[in-house]
Symmetry: none
Amino acid sequence: MSEITQKILSWYGSDNPGTLTNLARLLEQGSLAGTGKLVILPVDQGFEHGPARSFAPNPPAYDPRYHFQLAIEAGCNAYAAPLGFLEAGAREFAGQIPLILKLNDHDLLQNEADPIQAITGSVADALRLGCVGIGFTIYPGSSYRFEMYEQIRAIAEEAKQYGLVVVIWSYPRGSGISKQGETAIDICGYAAHIAAQLGAHIIKVKLPTAHIEQEAARKVYEKEGIPISTLADRVRHVVQCAFDGRRIVIFSGGPAIGEAELLEEIRGIRDGGGFGSIIGRNSFQRPKAEAIRLLQQIMNIYRGQ
Amino acid sequence: MSEITQKILSWYGSDNPGTLTNLARLLEQGSLAGTGKLVILPVDQGFEHGPARSFAPNPPAYDPRYHFQLAIEAGCNAYAAPLGFLEAGAREFAGQIPLILKLNDHDLLQNEADPIQAITGSVADALRLGCVGIGFTIYPGSSYRFEMYEQIRAIAEEAKQYGLVVVIWSYPRGSGISKQGETAIDICGYAAHIAAQLGAHIIKVKLPTAHIEQEAARKVYEKEGIPISTLADRVRHVVQCAFDGRRIVIFSGGPAIGEAELLEEIRGIRDGGGFGSIIGRNSFQRPKAEAIRLLQQIMNIYRGQ
Amino acid sequence: MSEITQKILSWYGSDNPGTLTNLARLLEQGSLAGTGKLVILPVDQGFEHGPARSFAPNPPAYDPRYHFQLAIEAGCNAYAAPLGFLEAGAREFAGQIPLILKLNDHDLLQNEADPIQAITGSVADALRLGCVGIGFTIYPGSSYRFEMYEQIRAIAEEAKQYGLVVVIWSYPRGSGISKQGETAIDICGYAAHIAAQLGAHIIKVKLPTAHIEQEAARKVYEKEGIPISTLADRVRHVVQCAFDGRRIVIFSGGPAIGEAELLEEIRGIRDGGGFGSIIGRNSFQRPKAEAIRLLQQIMNIYRGQ
Amino acid sequence: MSEITQKILSWYGSDNPGTLTNLARLLEQGSLAGTGKLVILPVDQGFEHGPARSFAPNPPAYDPRYHFQLAIEAGCNAYAAPLGFLEAGAREFAGQIPLILKLNDHDLLQNEADPIQAITGSVADALRLGCVGIGFTIYPGSSYRFEMYEQIRAIAEEAKQYGLVVVIWSYPRGSGISKQGETAIDICGYAAHIAAQLGAHIIKVKLPTAHIEQEAARKVYEKEGIPISTLADRVRHVVQCAFDGRRIVIFSGGPAIGEAELLEEIRGIRDGGGFGSIIGRNSFQRPKAEAIRLLQQIMNIYRGQ
Amino acid sequence: MSEITQKILSWYGSDNPGTLTNLARLLEQGSLAGTGKLVILPVDQGFEHGPARSFAPNPPAYDPRYHFQLAIEAGCNAYAAPLGFLEAGAREFAGQIPLILKLNDHDLLQNEADPIQAITGSVADALRLGCVGIGFTIYPGSSYRFEMYEQIRAIAEEAKQYGLVVVIWSYPRGSGISKQGETAIDICGYAAHIAAQLGAHIIKVKLPTAHIEQEAARKVYEKEGIPISTLADRVRHVVQCAFDGRRIVIFSGGPAIGEAELLEEIRGIRDGGGFGSIIGRNSFQRPKAEAIRLLQQIMNIYRGQ
C-alpha cells in the first residue's frame, strides 16, 4: 500500500479497521491506485433524469452491465449506483470493482422548490452486494435539509459499525438559495463542511463558481482576501473547508460538456488539491471506447502526467 | 477533589454516580480545576455560519486538530463540537480534554422565522468517542420548541442512564419573540429555567440585556423590584432562575468583540455568580497565542485574580 | 479477475455478491492471485499450544505485528488468527492483507477425550476488523460434534447474510475415532464432506494417510478400488468428497517438518488437485527471511513452476 | 499526557477513542500517573474468602468507604471491586478514583475441582457507576474454562462498544493442572496469552515460579534456553507471552506476606518489565497508615527510585 | 421523616430516588416507623412446607387476606409473600401495608442435596401489585449457588431501575456445608456479605450459632479474637460483615419456638445492632390476637422498651 494511502487512512482515527480497509480498497484500485486520487463512475442519472434522457445518447448504457464494464475497463476506483443497477450486475462482476450503493435517490416527476430524496437502499443491502460503502445525497438549502441530515446521521452510524465507507453528495439546492447560489463558492464550501461535520469519509460537491451567495459571507471573503478567482483557488478553498484537507473531497463534472473544457476542469481540481472526480454523464453518454479514452486522459492528469 | 466540586455534585441527587463522575471530570480539568468555574471551547460555528465566516479570520482553525490543541493548551475545562470535528481528533487527543458531543446543529441555508436544529449525533457516538457529555440546543420562542424539548427529553433520558452529562444551549429565538427579546432579561431567565426543568446538568444562555420582552413579566419585575440594571444583576437573576443556583449556568460571549469589552463581561458574569463561559469565536478566530493569552486572562478573572 | 477465479465463484450460486466479493479478494491477493490456489497463514497456535511452544523457536513471532508482516511480505492470500491477534494489528495493516477471524479456539489445559472449542469472536467483530471471512473449527468424532455443527450453522447463516466467507477447519478428533483415524483417508474425506454440507466456502483438512478407520468404509474403498496409495490420490479423493471439487479444499501441514518433506507434500497436494495450504508452524517458527523463501517455493509449486 | 501513555494507547488500534480515553484515565491517575506503571487496589476478597478472613485483620476494612479512601490516599491508579462494594461508595467518591467493576465473583462455599465464577454485574452497571472498565476472572485449567472464555467474549464486545476498558484476571486453576502448576512459568505465560487473545486490554496474572507444568512445554523451554531462573526473567517472559509487551500485564501479590519479601517481588516485576501490581490483601489487611506507606514504597520502586 | 431513616437512606448512594422512596415507605410504616428497625411478616411457608404444615395450626391463616390483616393490625413494616398470596389481597388492602413480592420459591417435593428455587414472579408483577420491593432467596453452599447469584443479579438490575427495593434471603444450604454449618457464625457472616456484594438493600439471614464451619475461618476468628460467645456478639459480627452496618440486616426466627425464648432472641438482635426480624411461623401459626400481642412485644423490644 502506498504511503499516500496510509497517510489518508490516518485522518480517520475514530473509524474502525473495517472502514479503513474498505477505504483502502477504494484508494488502491484501478489506474489511480495508490495516488491518493479517485475517479468514480456514478450512474444514478436514470433515476434522476429518466432513462431516455440518460441513456438514449449511448443506448448500450441502458444495460446495467455496461456500467460495471465501463468502470472496470477504464480503471476507475469505484462504481456508484442505486439498488437496482447494482443488483443487476453484482454477482457477475463480484470482486472486480469497488461498489458504492447510493442509498437515496430523486426523480423529476414533481417540480419541488424544496427537494428531498427517497431512501431506496439499506446498509444491509450494501453488505449483501459486497459494497465498500454507501452514498447519500443531502440538499443544503432545501427546507427538508435537516430531515436529510438526520437520515444520513442514522445511516452513517450503522454503516460505520459494519465497516463501510460513507460518501455524501452535498448538493446545495432549494428555496433557501438562488439557482446561481447552488454553485457559489461560499455555498460549496459550506456544503462540504456540513458533510464533513455529519461524519462523511468522502464528500462530493459541485465545482464552484466565483459567485458569492450570502452577504454575510461576502464580507468575510473580501475582508480576509480569500482567493477565489481561478478554479484551482476555489477547489483549494473547498478542500480547506472540509477539515483543512483531512477529508477526501471529490468534484462532479455536471452536465456533459466539451472534452477540452472538461479536461481543463480536471486540471483545476488537480492544481487546487482536489482528490478527484465523479464523472457520470461525461462518460456513460459517450461511446464506450471514447469514454474510456477520456477517463484515461483524466486519470493521467490526476497522476500529474 | 475540591470542596466546591463536591458541593456542586451534591445538587444532582437524582443522577447516577456515572454522571457525577463525568461532571467531576469537567470541573476538575484545566486551569479552573476545582474552582467551580468553567470555560468551555465550543466550535459548532462552521456548521452554523459556514466555514469561511468561522475560520477564515484564523485559517489554522480549519483543521479539526487545532481546536483540541487550543482547548488543551489554554487549560479549558472541555471542548464541544459536532460529530465530524470530534471524530477527526478523538483518537489523537484521547484522554487529554473532556469532550462534549453537540448532538444537534443548525445551518443558515434557510431563513426560517421558526428555527429548529437537525439531530446530527447520538448517545452511542458520545460513548464511543469518550465524551463526558452531550450538548443540545433548544430555541424557546420557536413554534418548533416543543419538538426540540421532546427530542432532548428522550436523548437526556438515554444519556443519563449511561452516565453522561447533559448540556443544554437554551437560545430564545423564533416568531414568538422579538429580535431584541432574544436577549431580554425575562426571556433569558425563562430560557434557563426551561432548560433546568428539562433536566439539564449544565445550561448555556446568552448574556441578558436589561430589556424586558413580555408585558406580563414586566409588571412583576417592576412590582418586585428585581435588580437588572447591571450585568452582574442580570447574571445573578438568570442563575436564580435556574433553580436558585443549583444548576450550572454558563454564558456565551456571542460574536467576536473587543478584548476589553469581553473581559468586562467576564467580570460581570463572575460578580453575578455565573459559573463560567463558553468562548467560541472570541477564541478560535484569534491567532492561537493571542487566544490562549485571552483565555488565561478570562480564567484569571474567574479565579478572582 | 482471472478466469479461474470467476469459475470458482460460479460454484457458490446460493451466496450473495458480498460473499463472492470477499472470496474474490482472497483469490486475487498475493503471489497466487488469480491461480485458483491459496496459501494462508494461520496463527492460532499460541492459543492452542501456548505461546512458548509456538513462538520461542522464533521470538519475533511473539509480536502480533510480525504475522501481518510475514503474510504480506510472503505474498500470502490471507492471514487467519483469533480476536486478540487481529485486534493488535488491524488498524496498522488495514487493507494490506485479507483477514480471517478465527471465531473459536481451543487450549491444551485439559486433556479431554472429546474436545470442543470456545467461541472467542463474533461476526460483528469480523466486520469491524475488516475481515473477508470467519474461521471455525469442528471436531468430527467428538461427542460434542453436533454442538459444534450447530454453532457454525448459526454463525455461518449470519456471516453469509453480511457477505463474509465461511472457512471451516474440519479436524476429526474425539472418542469416536482412533488416534490413527484422525488422518485416515475415509475420515478425512468424511470430514471434508461434512464441512461442505454445513455450508463452508473453504474447507481446511489435514493431509490424509492411507489408513482406513471404519470397517464399513473399508469394504467400499476396496470393492470400488478407490485409489489411495499416493498422497496425490488421497488429496484427489478428499477434494472429490467435497462436492466433486466444487468447494475449495486446502490442507494443513501439521507440525514443523523438514523442508524437503514439506515441499514434497505440497507437490502431492498440487498433483491431487488440492487448492492450497494453510502453513502455520512451518512458516512462523522459522526466521522470517527463511520463512518467506520457503513460502515462495511453496507458491511456485502451486503455480506449476 | 506523558509520551509513555501515548505510546501505550497506540497499541490498541482496534479500540474506539472511548476505550482509549478510559485507558488514559487509568494511566494518568495517582502517584504513577504518566509512568506507564499501575498499582490497582482490588477488593473482592470478601466475596472470595468471606468477610472475617478478609477484614478482621484490619476491621475498618469492613466499611466499603474504607477502600475508596485507601486507594485515593495511597495514590493508586484504580480501585476494583464487586457490585455491592462499588455501589456503596460510588456517589460519595465520584470522580476521585477510576473504578473497575469486577463482573464475576467466586466464593469458597463449595470445594470444586473445576471452578467457575458467577456473573455478578453488567456493563450497564459499570456505566451507571462511572467505571473506567470491567474486570473478569477466567480459570484456564478448569473444565469450565471455555464457558468463561465465551462469557468474557460477549461481555468484552459490549464493553468495548461503550468505550470501557476490559481487564482479565487470568488465574490457572482446575483439574487440568496441578496445584504447583497454577503458578508454573509455562502456565502463567499461557494464561497471559489466552487473556490477550480474548481481547483483554489489561491482564492480571500471578507471579510465576520456575516450575514447568507441561512436558511438551518443558522441551521447548529447555531447547530454546528461555531464561526463567530469576523472578525478573519470568516476568519478562510472561510479558513477552502477552503480545511481546504490547498488552498491559500486571501481577498480583497473592497472600499477605512480609514487607521485605513483597518489595523484593516488586523489584522483580519492575526489572522484568512488568506494568505493575494489583495489591489486595497486602494493603487492606494492614492498618491504613502502614498500608499507604507500603504502597508508596511500591510506587517508588516502579518509578525507579 | 426521622433522622434515623434519613441516615439509613444515605447509605444507598448508587440507588435512584425511587428505590429510596420505597425504602423510606418500609422504614416509616407501622409501630416501628422512624426507628430504623423493621419487623416484616413473611408467609412463604405454604409453598416451602405445604399448606397443612403451615396453616393447620391456625386455620384462618389458610385465607390469604388473613396475613394482610395480621401485618396491618400488628403494625408490621411490610408483608412478604409469593405471587398468589399477594394477588389474592393486593386490591383489597391496597395502600395499607408495604408489600414485598417473593420472586423465587422452593418446595419440599424433592430431597435435594443441592437446592435451588424456582422463579415464581417478576419485577413487572411487583410493580402491578404495588409492592415496595422484591424478595429473593439464595443458598450459598449449594452447587447451584452461582446460578442463583446470576438470577438475582439480573433481577436486581431491573428492580433498581424501576425504583424497587431488593431483599435477599441469604440461607446457607447445600453439599458444600454441614447441617450445623448452615447457622455457623462464619457462614452467616459470609452469607450476609455475599448478599451485600450482590447489591441487596436488605439482607435476611438466620440467627447464627457459635459454631465455626470452615477451618480457614476458624484460624482468623481465633487469632483476631472476634467475640462470638453471646447472641448479641454474633449479631454484631454479622452486621459488620454486611458492609460494617451500612446495609440493613434482619434476622429470621426459624421454627416456632417458645415465646420467652423468642423474645430473648429479639433482645440479642437488638443488643447486637440488628435491624429487626422477619417473623413468620412464630406469628401466623398462633391465634391472631396472640400473634399481635407477641409481635407488639417484639416491637417494644426493638423500640428499646
